[in-house]
Symmetry: C3
Subunit: 142 residues, 3 copies
């Protein structure tokens, strides 16, 4: 195998997109996170979950999900690694990425779990990157 | 949100700068680390600490800090993730980065703590990247 | 120090090469992993091990190594960080990279060990990237 060369500018844009996107999520800026999806984009944070569709739906899903942390001063950080891109015939880009969730509570050590794989379909144009869909699979569930 | 496109060459230079810089720090090459700052650069490794200013001051701070590891054959590795850049009006670049410190002792498993956010201001020109200032915040202290 | 500027396209290609390569390894696609080496490439996964040489030899080494996981439904993920490149006089590129191995078993939390440093020599041309040699050192063994 020789890995097919990636467009250099595309690779940098996607890395930077993920950096801003995940800092928005971990900062609790859910509308900013939702706005990284296309208007009809879908977000499925685990294979068993119903996908949230559209930006309002994604914000709603995140608000619901984070109720479990009410009264729990938790800081979560989503780490990404090994972004593998595959351009698709329709012009979109499939992106497969490792993810680990780092969870910190006051006085505690970081917990690092779960280990996930993020399966994204990206739409890229001169304006930037948007997510058409995201499915997150968990390594615990195999 | 569409993340503002990043200059591709800038993004690669900053990633590469961090790779060399942190390998220098973890290798105990403090003068090499200090030389990644501007001559008047400031380094504050936690919000409560007094910032070290200037390269000699940064080396001094690192030597002092590492006295805690005397007689302790520890290997530390500073991991970075999600480099988010924001060009500033004065030509500098603000860089916000996740960090985890991996600590290994002989016969032990890696300890991964603390979880931090690195807040850098970078000066970039045709010659390369230099750090004007670095403030590290810790997730435990919120 | 000013880190020598890296060729932007080279840096993106190497990152992308590692992403595909490690997803192949962790997916158990050993022939795909071996094909990321030059025909006479060598792979030494720890300093004490005999290096495997050539693609067939590398596949054999991986099959042997993974026998320890027979009947053990383990998912491993090799994370990389801080890719530092140094072009060599003969046109090859030395690449020094941090690595952590994430190991997940059903119902368990990820174990993150060992912490390693990957020492690669890369051959790069218009076709892509190939590995001439890889030596992995472990932080536990110092």
């Amino acid at each position: 195998m020789t890995t097919a060369p990636v467009r250099t500018d595309l690779y940098a844009q996607v890395q930077h997109f993920y950096a801003h996107q995940m800092q928005a999520l971990d900062g609790g800026r859910f509308e900013e996170y939702a706005a990284t999806f296309t208007p009809g984009g879908s977000f499925q944070h685990s294979p068993g979950a119903e996908p949230a569709v559209g930006r309002a739906g994604i914000v709603h899903e995140l608000v619901e999900f984070h109720k479990r942390f009410e009264g729990d001063p938790v800081q979560r950080r989503h780490w990404f690694n090994h972004i593998a891109l595959e351009p698709q015939p329709d012009g979109s880009v499939r992106s497969t990425v490792y993810a680990l969730v780092v969870t910190v509570r006051p006085g505690g050590k970081p917990e690092i779990a779960p280990s996930c794989v993020v399966h994204d379909v990206l739409e890229v144009d001169g304006e930037g990157v948007l997510l058409r869909s995201r499915l997150v699979t968990h390594d615990q569930m195999f």
